[in-house]
């Protein structure tokens, strides 16, 4: 009996003690602490290099640290300029720990007879181990490409995620236009604005480029410069491996705004052959169409989420250009209006994770960029007092947004360039310099 009472009292007292209870408060996600990453170099025979060789060697070494400086939120980049033969020795971990370095990247570069030999190693200082090593030889013309591949691999070893270093950006420019021939052609460049290369020579006006997943093809539309009775906007596809161009759609009217679906076998595009601009899905091989929108208002500019289920588009069905989403499995299925404000909204683009949509909106004197969740909540402003900003495109990892920005230089002159910012609107700089008016950038996936 006594034992039973004791047990009962114990249980009651525990109950009373827990009656008030602990209150758990979630502090939430941590902010990222920057990792200090140090770059060292060694170039044996530097004194014997020609000026061109010196430039290439410098450029390669600078590329390694410059790439990581894009991720300034994650990394504090320290680039040591001195030619340090210690690069060949095992790193002094204690020394670097004292300097609060998290990672060390060493590059040994030598150039001889038009060939660059390189050796790059990366070390995790806190864990005291080598995390990356690559040696090889390359032609001088490919040194930047190899450099980006190396930094991409190092980034992956550090963070476990893919970077933007090996990605490309395609854009439209009037760089080669003359006073008598106003043309806009398709170009491609590295993510950092280097290696600009012209792709098309249509002598017309190229619009709405879009990469395929894996960046093997580029879709684009073309307005020819020839004056015809029924001027058409046709859809073409550029093969980056073979440089071949193929005609995809030349239905009467508009064939534009095309994007690849995640399976790379279908595309979504705007067609107006039925008399009104509507959005369709087309099978690339069979050219069979499946209609997605059916409304008397104009429906254009599709953008697909990463899983291919949700499609964002621009529509005038509310009386003004607003952003909508729909279920891509059916016609007018699950249409939801996402934006309710703004005088004129344009170019909605899904983030790679499908959770956000970035778009441009007209405000008073020009366009600015905004970001909204795909369910219409959390409207945020990204740009302000920075010219007129349009055509946003997310990077592959969702950390950056490239866009075109127009600067008014005088009453008669304005310049448009491609700029890059992080996803929270911090402008990192412009990618195109002296490349004419550059518009509609699209980041490879």
């Amino acid at each position: 009996m006594r034992i039973l009472c004791a047990i009962l009292v114990t249980i009651l007292s525990i109950g009373c003690a827990n009656g008030q209870g602990l209150t758990i408060v979630a502090v939430g996600d941590a902010t990222l602490e920057k990792d200090k990453i140090v770059f060292e170099q060694y170039q044996p025979g530097w004194e014997k290099y020609t000026p061109r060789q010196k430039n290439i060697a410098k450029s390669f070494y600078k590329l390694l640290s410059n790439d990581f400086s894009f991720y300034k939120k994650f990394f504090e980049v320290v680039s040591l300029g001195a030619n340090n033969p210690e690069v060949r020795n095992v790193p002094r971990y204690d020394y670097w720990l004292g300097k609060q370095a998290s990672f060390l990247v060493r590059a040994e570069i030598s150039i001889r007879k038009g060939v660059m030999s390189f050796g790059v190693q990366a070390y995790n200082i806190k864990k005291r181990k080598k995390i990356f090593s690559q040696e090889g030889k390359t032609k001088l013309s490919r040194s930047r490409t190899i450099g980006h591949e190396i930094t991409d691999k190092i980034y992956f070893q550090i963070t476990g995620k893919e970077s933007v270093f090996a990605t490309k950006i395609t854009f439209v420019s009037d760089r080669d236009a003359t006073r008598y021939r106003r043309i806009k052609e398709l170009y491609i460049m590295d993510f950092d604005g280097h290696n600009v290369k012209r792709l098309t020579y249509h002598k017309g006006t190229v619009i709405s480029p879009a990469f395929s997943y894996g960046a093997k093809y580029i879709l684009y539309s073309l307005i020819t410069s020839k004056v015809r009775k029924n001027r058409n906007i046709n859809l073409y596809m550029y093969d980056l491996a073979t440089d071949k161009i193929s005609l995809i759609s030349n239905r009467p009217g508009v064939n534009s705004g095309a994007i690849f679906m995640p399976d790379n076998e279908h595309i979504s595009l705007t067609l107006s052959h039925v008399g009104n601009a509507e959005i369709y899905i087309m099978n690339l091989k069979s050219k069979v169409l499946r209609r997605l929108t059916k409304h008397y208002a104009v429906d254009v500019d599709p953008s697909i989420s990463a899983d291919g289920k949700l499609l964002a588009f621009l529509s005038g069905r509310a009386g003004k250009a607003m952003i909508y989403t729909l279920d891509s499995s059916g016609m007018e299925k699950g249409v939801i209006r996402v934006s309710y404000v703004g005088q004129y909204n344009a170019t909605p683009r899904f983030s790679p994770d499908g959770k956000e949509i970035v778009f441009s909106s007209w405000l008073d004197r020009g366009f600015d960029l905004f970001r909204i969740a795909s369910d219409g909540t959390g409207l945020s402003r990204l740009t302000k007092n920075f010219g007129s900003n349009e055509d946003p495109t997310y990077s592959k990892d969702g950390q950056f947004i490239a866009f075109s920005s127009k600067r008014i230089l005088s009453k008669r002159k304005a310049v448009e360039s491609v700029y890059i910012m992080d996803r929270d609107g911090e402008i990192l700089g412009n990618l195109t310099v002296n490349q004419g008016n550059c518009i509609t950038p699209r980041w490879s996936k």
Binding site: I24, G28, A30, K384
Partner: protein
């Protein structure tokens, strides 16, 4: 029988029943028409009500004025004001408008301007009014801070409170919901720890002034560095906001547990 066989009889019956039938049919049609009219009217009313009920309610009425970068900068500035610990004397001085007036050389005034000055002279404020003004300026400052950052917050409330709603719990709940905002600026992780989706919980003991008496790991993440960084975030956040007197006992008994992240 003969009557039945008479043609006149049948003529009269047919005529009678036909007439009756006609009246009944016409009456039924009129009744149905009237009834359907009533029903249609009612359903159209219902339709109107449905349309009104289905109107979309929109909270955002304009495009945001401030960019994310501007809001971040504003939030960083506003945390410097640390109103929980009282206004600095410097700030109190600035609030006093007389302090802001510049010393101006007094010129000789004519009679008319002197009269105007006397007429425009404000009545001296009483002590009560002065206290109200001080309160208002602090309140207005808070409201302004909240107004600017409101609408751009993407996160929802993070506090998990116990069951039941009593007067004391509400005060306690209000206090603890402010703690994550206090601690979060000090909660930092390197990239290699961010990816592992670790979780730990730290129990904190606070005195009535918000001073941290003790902090200990309540639930470990399994990673020593992660736990150490969570403890460091707690110690860096010391002192915490003042604890309301009604719930001071609960804070000192360690009833607050901070989850990193949950």
């Amino acid at each position: 029988m003969k009557i039945l066989q008479s043609p006149h009889y049948w003529d009269k019956s047919i005529y009678f029943y036909t007439r009756k039938s006609l009246y009944i049919h016409i009456g039924t049609i009129i009744f149905l028409l009237f009834f359907s009219y009533l029903f249609k009217k009612k359903s159209s009313w219902d339709a109107k009500v449905t349309i009104i009920e289905s109107a979309v309610r929109v909270d955002v009425v304009a495009m945001p004025k401030y960019t994310i970068q501007e809001l971040k900068a504003f939030q960083e500035q506003s945390t410097d004001f640390n109103l929980e610990h009282g206004i600095d004397e410097e700030l109190a001085k600035i609030d006093d408008p007389e302090e802001l007036s510049f010393k101006v050389k007094k010129k000789k005034q004519d009679f008319m301007s002197m009269l105007k000055k006397i007429g425009n002279k404000k009545v001296a404020k009483t002590k009560k009014d002065k206290k109200k003004d001080k309160f208002l300026s602090r309140k207005m400052r808070n409201e302004l801070k909240n107004l600017v950052v409101a609408g751009n917050k993407l996160s929802q409330g993070t506090a998990l409170t116990g069951s039941g709603v009593t007067g004391e719990m509400t005060i306690f709940g209000k206090y603890i919901t402010g703690i994550p905002t206090w601690v979060r600026p000090n909660w930092r992780l390197p990239s290699y720890l961010m990816q592992d989706e670790l979780k730990c919980r730290v129990q904190i003991f606070l005195n009535i002034n918000g001073k941290l008496i003790k902090a200990k790991i309540y639930e470990s993440s399994g990673n020593k560095e992660y736990d150490e960084r969570a403890l460091k975030a707690v110690h860096s956040s010391d002192p915490f906001p003042k604890v309301p007197a009604e719930v001071g006992g609960r804070a000192s008994r360690g009833e607050i547990v901070l989850g990193f992240p949950l």
